[in-house]
Amino acid sequence: MTDAFIPAPEVPQTSGPRLVVDGLRIRHDGRHRFSPDGVTFTLRAGEVVLLMGPSGSGKSTLALALNGLVPHAVPAEMHGSVRVDDIDTRDASVAALSERVGMVLQDADAQIVTGSVLDEVCFGPENLSLPVPEILRRAEAALRRVGLWERRDDNPDILSGGGRQRVAIAAALALDSDTIVLDEPTANLDAAGADDVYDALAEIAADGRHTIVLIEHDLDRAVRIVDRVIVIDRDGHPVADGTPREVLAGRADELHQLGVWLPPATEAGRRLRHAGVFDADEPLPLTGEELTAALDAVPRERALPSLPAPAAAGTSTPASASASARAVTAATSAAPEHPQPAVVLDRVSVTRRRTRIVHDVSLTIGRGEFWAIVGVNGAGKSSLVQTMVGITAPSSGRVRVHGFDPARTDARRLSEHVGFVFQNPEHQFVAHTAFDELAYGLRARRVDESTIERQVTGMLERFGLADAAHVHPFLLSGGQKRRLSVGTALIAGASTLVLDEPTFGQDRERSDELLDVLRSLNRTGTTVVVVTHDLQLAVDHADHLAVMADGRLVEAGTVDEILGDEAVLERNGLRLPPLVRAFQAVTAHPEWRQVRRLDQIAGTAGHGAGDHGASGRRADP
């Protein structure tokens, strides 16, 4: 890592540097470690920068330092300096800096202060005491830019998630700041919402005036608009700084080792190179289109011998997709063949406050299967799975879980069969230590203490929580909380696990770590039903998909069946994951069109998706 600093691409020197970060080290109060630790870079007008790093690298903290929230609003110790247009952030208030640096955060709901879209965008300029005509001029320009001018009188609450996030971007634009910092702006959005946000961002990025600093998990979208990438490692140290091609494609193996996520196309290319399909001196692709082109350019005679083994999960010809996927399910499931399905929904409808939110859904989930229920935000996914554990009673239709009617079965009895994990793990914690949290369900059943001790200890070890047994659940790290919540759902012996948007608001690394836990549970026979708006995550881990839209079940089947029908996905606000799309577009090698996920690419033993999860776990403080 001697050449850690590739000089940033030269931008014509029309003006001085816009943002200078010099030797920045930040330590949150109560933490021992500095992260970021010694980060230095200079940003000029028009640069669009992607800030990358594994969980715990301090990239979000760094973002908060760019407009002075660190150290002014966040209790933290800061060394080094951040200069915005030659003003040291220490010497100016956040409010004063807001004219120079706009900020868009992950949670759109927490950024809305007023009651209409127009008022919201005017809020910033009003605080700057600008004259009214100027405020309205800026608000109109900002709202037209994100395509929301026609909806200026609406309450932001009635906009979609993508719409609310665009309001936040417009609010930042209206401050007329030259620099805009966005921290995971699409993390809680479905694909349609993320498209909206990126359409708006691409336009702003193209004007050459705004400097954009972006933290993003959706690298396939981000890499299309950025011209510079800065990477921080797990300890908060800077590792790389350069163009996306230099950093992401040029140093892919190194970044992978550091636990940094690569764009899906680059990661696929990296694995294909290790498998001998791509030449070592060939540049790795950054986008899906480049991956497709690179695959098409592979000579047929070379590609054939190193094709992924057809035994890998889900790789089968379309004609036998269904049958073979079922065979895979049966083969990987350790549960004995059970005549009774795990979940049976028969014409289930749910009505809440006189509105029907689930319409007539029928679905059978076999034992040992791994289902992902996908759909845009508000499609009725959560309401549907809530009927499986008796939280919501169906207004009509029949629900059976392991043969029980959840709405009429005692909660304690039901929890021996099905466990439910809520979106926010904190909501379900009731005890004061991780140990008691797991023991809670057993004590309620009057199991004797020695058995409890044994079972809880086993569960703690299974989820890597043995060291945290006596820590208050609220003080665990995000990933630990999540694993504890899965443990509590399973402790009473449930063999079916239902999870409601378990990855909402989490970064990609944490999400993948959780899904890996679920996959290993599934391998030992647990039936898993997970609700998500992230189709890539679903495709990476599940073997069955159910697509919901407007409260109806649009389609259900194996991953291959569903992915084969792009039109249905598009119509329901979903997008094919970039990897699936790239492989489906391959023309020279029809056999390759069936690749769905990275671990299907051969020759990557020991480099599977799982090692991200393992390294993520180690990073938990």
Partner: protein
């Protein structure tokens, strides 16, 4: 719960209450509300109730919900309160009161309506209950004059513009309204989570307290995090940058506001003159 951000842009000019400064609506009824606290009779609150209803019916758009509120819920509340306070009052003290010198509906004050052992529910007690009930409900109805016809942001704006309340307080309070639906959703999730965990359901008030205390910590933890993010977002948008902020909507105090206040103050005085006779 009503939306504090609701807009009254669609209100017709005939409904004059929407066009008034929110402060004028408060100033006009505050003296009456304060004076009502010190009344003990039945006539004064009854007259104020009538006055408030007249103002509302002439000045506000009466939709289905408002009609139900004023026409059904309010009378029902008056009756329930009257009976309840009547039962609560000290029967002996009630008999000594001179609220109903001529009795009620021809029945004299000491007529017993209901007797349970030693306890006697007399017409006099009902009179005391009715007076208390009318007092409360007339204050409530007077507050509806401003409450039903004022948008939250307008009240904040008029407080800032006309009363020079620091905008930092006003707008922070307004932003806090956004917490209410969020708390509601969180609470719903918490309840569901506890049910699914097979929590031992203890009935009665002790169980209720236990359950509530258990939910306070996660609710607060979520609320504090949300508040922190919200304060970051507000800071990042120049909130508090200077001592004044531009108000795009001015909420001026117009002649009609003065007229409204004067009329209502005169009416208040008239009610006291009438009822004291």
């Amino acid at each position: 719960m009503t939306d504090p951000y609701r807009s009254f842009a669609s209100a017709r000019p005939r409904h004059y209450l929407y066009a008034l400064n929110p402060l004028s609506k408060l100033v006009a009824v505050l003296p009456a509300m304060a004076a009502l606290l010190f009344t003990r009779d039945i006539m004064t609150p009854l007259l104020f109730l009538a006055l408030a209803l007249v103002v509302l019916v002439t000045g506000a758009r009466i939709g289905r919900r408002t009609a139900l509120l004023l026409g059904v819920a309010l009378p029902a509340l008056i009756v329930v309160f009257a009976l309840g306070f009547g039962a609560w009052t000290d029967p002996a003290a009630a008999l000594r009161s001179t609220l109903l010198p001529g009795g009620l509906f021809g029945a004299s004050a000491d007529t017993v309506i209901l007797q349970l052992g030693d306890y006697r529910y007399t017409v006099a007690a009902l009179g005391v209950g009715l007076a208390t009930s009318l007092r409360l409900c007339s204050i409530l109805t007077l507050s509806l004059i401003a409450g039903l016809t004022t948008a939250g942001p307008d009240l904040v704006r008029s407080l800032v513009q006309n009363l020079r309340v620091p905008y930092r307080f006003g707008y922070t309070a307004l932003a806090a309204y956004r917490f209410v639906p969020r708390f509601g959703r969180d609470l719903e999730q918490l309840r569901a989570a506890r049910r699914v965990r097979g929590s031992v359901v203890r009935r009665g008030p002790v169980g209720w307290v236990g359950r509530s205390v258990g939910m306070v910590v996660p609710l607060l933890a979520g609320g504090i995090r949300h508040a922190e993010r919200m304060s970051f977002a507000m800071d990042s948008r120049a909130f508090g940058a200077s001592r004044h902020r531009t108000e795009r909507y001015s909420v001026p105090w117009r002649a009609r506001d003065t007229v409204f206040v004067v009329i209502l103050l005169l009416a208040t005085a008239a009610v006291f003159v009438l009822s004291s006779r």
